[in-house]
Symmetry: C2
Subunit: 219 residues, 2 copies
DNA sequence: GTCTATAAGTTGATAGAC
DNA sequence: GTCTATCAACTTATAGAC
């Protein structure tokens, strides 16, 4: 028999793993993969270094699990893009969802951005499978809207690139946004203004009449 | 007297510095500041490590000079945004210029993006001064266009954030673009298509009639 | 399952001969 | 101005007591 209890089925294990993942996110976000040290993550998690290796094996495995979780969360808002929906409403709420994520979990976005920036050495396979499949499906929805004359003929894949870039820039490069706006910190009103801007520009760009400014969801 | 010759006024010095800077760009782009090693840069430059320290003092000084040069190049295309210009033409050519830079020097863009991603520890001051001043000037131009009824009332500062994000995503996150499009490498046609998409979406988004697709400049 | 101690390897930076 | 040799510090990962 091992020392691990058989019945609780890994309660402690899972709790500790999540604790370590949560502590690792800001450390990887601020310093990148190489700049982040297991020591710093361990300190943030309130555990000895050795425990991190006990739970995740290596630094790269820990990093990989963090990223895979982010990609999953990241794809969820695309579900609302369905053929039956109104294009303007669906796109506006997708943009709003992405803007809300940028504001709520900027570190997750930054770790992801950093991985892409360096060529996606650990996430490349997932990008070429899961992400590509999902985008192909949603691009088909946009193409259907265009074919039905419900929106202007934009390139669907490139529309997604623009949407991701325009929304995530407020998380990934917020230091640039703050420098230009002269803010030491982005307020809730800054984020609302940013979201209104992106929604309005994109909807008009897609030939869709922007709806009157709607209050943010009670999330 | 020092060993350095007085008359040639640093010809060798400058040539070697530029050689090292050119070699450092792809290394920093691929590995980030911490992942890049002085050994790797020295090898790429074909020089011993010690020479890098002789010319730049420290790794951070080398990195700082590389970034400052990129920021300068990066601001140049904004010069064409002047009140007398036609908004549609000026914005289209600004976007084209940024897209061309993304395609031609992706590594410079990536090093810059990486610096922003980690909070601009070495470039922060320049962002809050030079960048902010330049954007304030160009935002005033956009405001004048709007006041004259020559384009839709978009938020000028946020318009720049969107333009930068939408254009640089093709350099910074090209691995994501390639994954979605199923390309092993982005072709010239891919970049043209991307540029046409961004120009068209933004011009329509700004209430400006997109001009017919113009051939790329002979650059 | 937890933690201390340490091994094994890497890196930025410098000394000093040429 | 160039380059070899080397140091001091740091980091990942593991061994082994508890």
């Amino acid at each position: 028999m091992k020392a691990a209890p058989a019945e609780p089925a890994g309660h402690i294990r899972q709790a500790n793993r999540e604790r370590i993942l949560a502590a690792a996110e800001p450390v990887f976000a601020r310093a990148g993969f190489n700049g982040a040290t297991m020591g710093a993550i361990a300190e943030a998690a309130g555990l000895p270094k050795a425990n991190l290796h006990y739970y995740f094996g290596s630094k790269q495995d820990l990093y990989r699990e963090l990223l895979a979780g982010t990609l999953r969360d990241w794809l969820v808002p695309m579900d609302s893009l369905v053929p039956e929906a109104d294009p303007a409403t669906a796109l506006a709420s997708y943009i709003q969802a992405k803007m809300t994520m940028s504001a709520a979990r900027p570190d997750a976005s930054r770790v992801f951005a950093n991985e892409l920036l360096h060529g996606a050495p650990v996430l490349g396979d997932l990008m070429r499978t899961e992400l590509r499949t999902m985008v192909a499906k949603k691009a088909a929805v946009v193409r259907a809207w265009i074919a039905a004359g419900r929106m202007a003929p934009v390139d669907p894949e490139h529309l997604f690139f623009t949407l991701w870039a325009a929304t995530q820039t407020y998380a990934d490069f917020d230091v640039q946004v703050r420098a230009v706006l002269g803010r030491s910190k982005l307020t809730r009103r800054d984020h609302e203004r940013a979201a209104a801007h992106v929604v309005s520009l994109v909807l008009r760009g897609c030939g869709l009449v922007p709806p009157p400014p709607q209050p943010p969801p009670p999330t």
